[in-house]
Structures are given as C-alpha cells and as structure tokens.
C-alpha cells in the first residue's frame, strides 16, 4: 500500500507520530491524526453572517423549544479551517481500501464493483432533485422507475409481488417475518406458531430477526455435505412452527440441492418458507425462488445489484412475496393506476414512455403491516439497481452469476492444496477454506493469515464465519475480477502458506506496511475510549 506509514514508525502515544495536530507523514506517505487534534479555538471553515433585523423579527414570534430540551452551552466540536477539514477527509479517503482501489474478496458481503453508469443515472437531475413529498402527478417518472424495478425483481425472483421499502437486508428479513406473523394471526394460528427454524449455515441475522419478531429460534444442523439435514428438519417441523428461514446458497457457498424437498416439507407443515436472498449473486437467471415455492425473500440491492455497500450505502433490501403474503406487504405501494402493464413494460424496454399511463402510490391496503421506512425506501438505490439490471439485461445477469461462480471455483481448485477445504464440493459464489492445518502444524491462525494478506494490498476474506467451519476463511471474489487478479491472489495465498512453514513469526507480526499494525481488539471492546479529549483539556489537566 503506497499510502502507508513505513514500518517501525509506530507511536507509543497512540496519537499519531511525527506531528502535533498538523497532518503528517513522510514524503507521500500519510499519517493522519484525529480531527480533534487539529482543532484550534475560534478557527472556522464557514463564518455565518449575523441574522438580519427582519430575520430576528420573524423568529421572535415563533414558539421556542422548552428549556428542558435546550442545551445550556454550545457543544465542543473540532474547530478547523475549510482546507484543513478537506485535507483531513481526503487523506482519510486515501487510507481507505475499497473495491475501486484493489481486490476485496470479503465472503458473504458480495463486494462487487459498482459500475459508474449507475452514478450517472442517479445524478440525472429529474431523479436526483425529485422530492419524496412531491405530488404523484409531478413524480410520474420516479414512480414509474419504482414500479419497473419491482417488475424486474419479480421477474428475476419468480415472486408475485415486491415491496421496495426495506432499507437493508436485515430490514427486509424483519419485514418478511412481520408479514409471516400477520399471516398466521390472520388465520387464527398466531398463538400456536411460536417457532422459527434456522439451519446452522444461515446468516446470523436470520435468528436475530426471528427473535426480534418474538419467535423462538430452533437451530437445524447441517449434514456432512454442508446441506440441511432433512431428517432433523422434518423432526422439528410441526403445528408450532411459523417459518423456516434458509440462506440459499448457504454461507458455505453451497446450493441446497434438496431445496424442493425442504420447501415441500415446510409447506406441508403450514409454515412460511423464507429464503435469505443475500447470496442471489450466485443464481441469477438459474434459479427463481418464487417458482421453487418460497413465500418470501429479501434482495440485497447493495450486493447483487451493485449499489454501494458498506460505508458508501445506504443499503436497500426489497422483499418479494408469494400471492398468499401479498396482502400484508408494507404500504404504500407504487402501482400502475391507468394503462396496460404489458404495454408500459414493452415501451420501457424500448426507452419510450407510454401515453396515458398513470402511476400512483396505493395506500389502500387494509391488511398491510404498515410502513417500515419513511417515504418509499432508499430511492437513489432504486435508480442504481434499475440501471444495473437494464444495462446488463437478462442474459447479462445470467453471465454475472456464471462468472461469479466460475471465479469462486477457480480459487477453490487452485488453493485447495494449500488450505483445507472442509466441504470440498462445487461452490457457488463463494468458497470457505479452513486455516486449521496452518494452526495445528505451524501455530499460524486464520487471523494471522488475514493480517498477512493486508501487506499485499488485498482486503482479507471474511474470517471465523461461518461458525461451523473451524478457522474459517471465506472468499467471495465476485464476477468482476480479471484472471490476472485472481492469479495474483492465488500467488499471495500460496506464498503465505509457504511462509507459515518457513517463517511463521513473520506472519504473526503482520501487517507491517499498513498505517497501524495489529490493534488490541480485546482492549478496544472491553474498555472503549470513545470520547476524545481536546489537547488543551489534556494540557490543563496535566498542569
């Protein structure tokens, strides 16, 4: 990494070395202090004018906040000039690792490249400057885009209806489980169905969601092939089960090849079949969960459909549902109030608008679980996801999944001599290695390996997840990496496996080329120090 502090320059004070409040570093390397350390009394980025007489007079008649809700003094915030602030955040941005800078195979997260055409579309003034409270007659384009995106997601997933409202994957799960509860209550089985079954290879958010909605979760073990244990599932199903939540492909990167039997067993028990769609990137154009009999699934637009993921969010977690859950979808729903859907779709694919078509927001949904998000969801993400789907087309989406699966399998085959592979099967979009051999034979843990990867300018894979794999190392390359990049990763991983044998201490010391070395994660979690003390306060207390 070119922006790193050279090894050996770490600062025992923890405040950043070689500078006192100003930005530091040597040559083009960057060492950045906290913005609090750059603060000087009365320094300002923007000086506001004193309010005019007219403004004061206008404000005088307005009701004031009650005294109990007012601050007694101004908060102490960092005081810096505009240029200092700009440099601070630009320099932090240089220290960041992102998919736009390097390989980012973070398993389970689908850190795929976000094509820049998405950003172009999201910045089109007609979309970017639309306001969620504009009346429907002034928002026809935005409503049409939301309706079209929902139609596309229905087509991709095989579900009967889609709500775009949920703002994240786990939020989509929550929405789906609230609908599950509403469905059972409506049928008079709300009291009786108290359990949600979750395989041990599911995303951790699944049991968390079930618990949030008030269900008791029951874990279903995996079989030796990494699939769900059908016998255990059948044994656990009964009139007290509200739903099965299954992540497919699972967190082992394995497609559940008994999925038809799983869904049939769940339906026979009168329960709802929930599919966590976070791993949809593996199955686009190949498997439609709605068609397979699932009742509900969330999409992660920030994974599969290339909207920003992580700090660049916000996320978007639309849900697709079967006809029996449709009445419970969140309101309002963008609907085509006037016009022929087939004609509108045909025109949209030909980049034409449809004369006479009219969209509106339907709030008349008596069985709806209600709103789950302010306004209609994260609209800017809908524009990006819609752009991604349209710019790839159905064949393109299928190719995306094929390439993502091919890349994961390429890494599986090339690395399975150097690292253990507890479930050595054809992978989908990700592959889970185990560092147990390195740990046993050389005392090098998966954490050490992940730290060593940093020194090669690559973001490490997910580690210690899924929990059912010892010393797990979960790699998801996604579809956008070149063969050269994958080969370089293979070389790096082979090099680390070799070094674990010849010089394990070097790996245990890694990373050495990053701005900071190993952080004391335990101390940070046990004794977090979240309030910064300004320099003059520290000096005053020492005086």
């Amino acid at each position: 990494m070119s922006v790193a502090e050279p090894p050996g320059r770490s600062d025992p004070s923890g405040r950043g070395s070689a500078f006192s409040g100003a930005t530091g570093g040597s040559g083009l390397t960057i060492v950045e202090p906290l913005i609090f350390d750059a603060s000087r009394r009365e320094r300002r980025a923007v000086r506001f004018p004193k309010p005019s007489e007219a403004a004061r007079a206008a404000a005088a008649g307005q009701p004031e906040l009650p005294a109990s809700a007012r601050r007694r003094g101004a908060p102490r915030l960092p005081e810096v000039s505009e240029l200092e602030m700009l440099r601070h955040f630009n320099r932090l941005a240089h220290l960041n690792h992102a998919i736009d800078i390097g390989f980012y195979p973070l398993g389970s997260c689908t850190m795929k490249y976000n094509p820049k055409v998405n950003e172009w579309a999201a910045r089109l003034p007609g979309l970017a400057e639309s306001h969620p409270l504009d009346p429907a007659q002034l928002s026809q384009g935005s409503l049409e885009l939301m309706w079209l995106l929902a139609e596309l997601l229905k087509d991709i997933s095989g579900f009967d209806a889609v709500s775009l409202q949920p703002a994240a994957g786990a939020h989509g799960e929550l929405t789906g489980m609230l609908m599950t509860r509403a469905y059972h209550r409506d049928r008079g089985e709300g009291e009786q169905r108290t359990k949600v079954l979750v395989p041990d290879s599911a995303h951790g958010t699944n049991p968390a969601t079930a618990t949030m909605v008030g269900y008791e979760t029951v874990t279903i073990r995996s079989n030796e092939r990494g699939g769900i244990d059908l016998g255990a599932l059948r044994g656990a199903l009964g009139p007290d089960v509200a739903a099965l939540m299954i992540t497919n492909p699972s967190t082992l990167g394995i497609f559940e090849d008994q999925i038809d039997q799983v869904v049939a067993a769940v339906q026979e028990a009168g329960a709802i079949a929930y599919m966590d769609g976070a791993n949809l990137n593996a199955i686009l154009g190949r498997f439609r969960p709605g068609e397979a009999g699932f009742d509900v699934m969330h999409f992660n637009l920030h994974k599969t459909f290339s909207t920003p993921h992580g700090g660049g969010g916000p996320g978007a977690g639309p849900i697709g549902v079967s006809a029996r859950l449709e009445p419970y979808l969140p309101a309002p729903m963008p609907v085509l109030a006037e016009g022929d859907p087939a004609e509108v779709l045909a025109n949209a694919w030909a980049l034409r608008s449809t004369p006479g078509a009219r969209f509106e927001l339907d709030d008349d949904r008596p069985k709806s679980i209600g709103k789950v998000r302010s306004c209609y969801g994260n609209f800017g993400m809908f524009v990006r996801a819609y752009t991604y789907i349209r710019s790839n087309g159905s064949q393109g989406l299928r190719t995306i999944s094929e390439d993502a699966v091919l890349a994961a399998n390429y890494l599986r085959v090339r690395l399975h001599d150097a690292y253990d592979l507890p479930y050595d099967r054809l992978s989908k979009h990700e592959v889970v290695f185990s560092g147990r051999r390195q740990k046993r034979e050389h005392g090098v843990t998966t954490l050490d390996i992940a730290k060593a990867i940093l020194d090669h300018g690559i973001h490490p894979p997910t580690i210690y997840f899924p929990l059912i794999v010892e010393e797990a190392l979960m790699v998801e390359p996604t579809e956008t990496e070149s063969l050269e990049t994958l080969d370089r990763f293979v070389d790096v991983m082979h090099g680390i496996a070799e070094q674990a044998k010849t010089d394990p201490d070097a790996i245990r010391r890694a990373p050495t080329t990053t701005p900071v070395g190993r952080l004391d994660e335990a101390a940070a979690a046990r004794r977090p120090d979240l309030r910064h003390t300004f320099r003059d306060e520290t000096e005053a207390s020492m005086a």
Partner: protein, 126 residues
C-alpha cells in the same frame, strides 16, 4: 490437553462442578475460551431464573464471534459471577476457577449422567 477430573462436561463445552447435594457451579471450558479467542462481553443469566439442560442461558462475545451459552444441567440460578461483567477476560485466563459463570440449585441430579467425564471430554476435543 488435560481437564480437571472433578468436573463433568457437555458437548457444548460447558462444565459442571457439584458442590454438595443440590448445588453446582457451571462455566465454559478452557477449550471453548481458547476457540473463542479474547472474550469481551458475557450476558449472565438472572439470579432466580431457571435453566433447562442444553437450553440457552446467556451469550458470550469474543473478538471473533457471538455465541450462545448452553446450560449443562437444569436448575435455578442462585448466584452469578459478577466479576465477569467488568473482567470477562477471567473466562480466558482461568475458565475452571475464577471464570465460573453461575451457581445453580440442581433440579435433577440424574442429568449428570448425560455429561462426559474429563477423559471423554479430552477425547471429544482432541
């Protein structure tokens, strides 16, 4: 690895020490603590709550993962190790003594038969 002979062990890596006729102390094993890595938080059961054998009774969080605690035996919680709230690292440094989690009044001493002795547990974790 050798484990204390006076304890019984569960497959979920909890231990039990019977103190007298009807009380016992429970905790997690050193194997579990090592696998979890540095433990940063534990959610203890409430005094007076009832544990059921192999049911969840709390949560332990390490720098690696958040895991459920499974009760090795059934019974009423008489006392919890308050020291763990501020110093969860005791679970890592002294899992079988200072890092005990709770004392319980046993509801069914026969449940001990479903647990392993030290040798069997050592074989299980080898």
């Amino acid at each position: 690895m050798a484990y204390p002979d006076d304890l019984r062990y569960s497959k979920e890596h909890e231990w039990v020490r019977v103190e007298d006729d009807d009380t016992a102390t429970i905790g997690i094993t050193s194997f579990a603590a090592d696998e979890l890595g540095d433990i940063v938080f534990i959610e203890l059961p409430e005094v007076g709550s009832t544990l059921s054998q192999f049911g969840t009774f709390g949560v332990v969080e390490s720098v690696k993962a958040v895991s459920d605690l499974y009760a090795p035996i059934s019974g009423e919680v008489l006392e919890v190790n308050e020291a763990l709230r501020d110093t969860p690292e005791l679970l890592n440094s002294d899992a079988f003594a200072e890092g005990w989690i709770a004392k319980v009044r046993l509801s069914d001493a026969a449940e001990m038969d479903a647990l392993m002795d030290a040798d069997a547990y050592a074989a299980e974790t080898a």
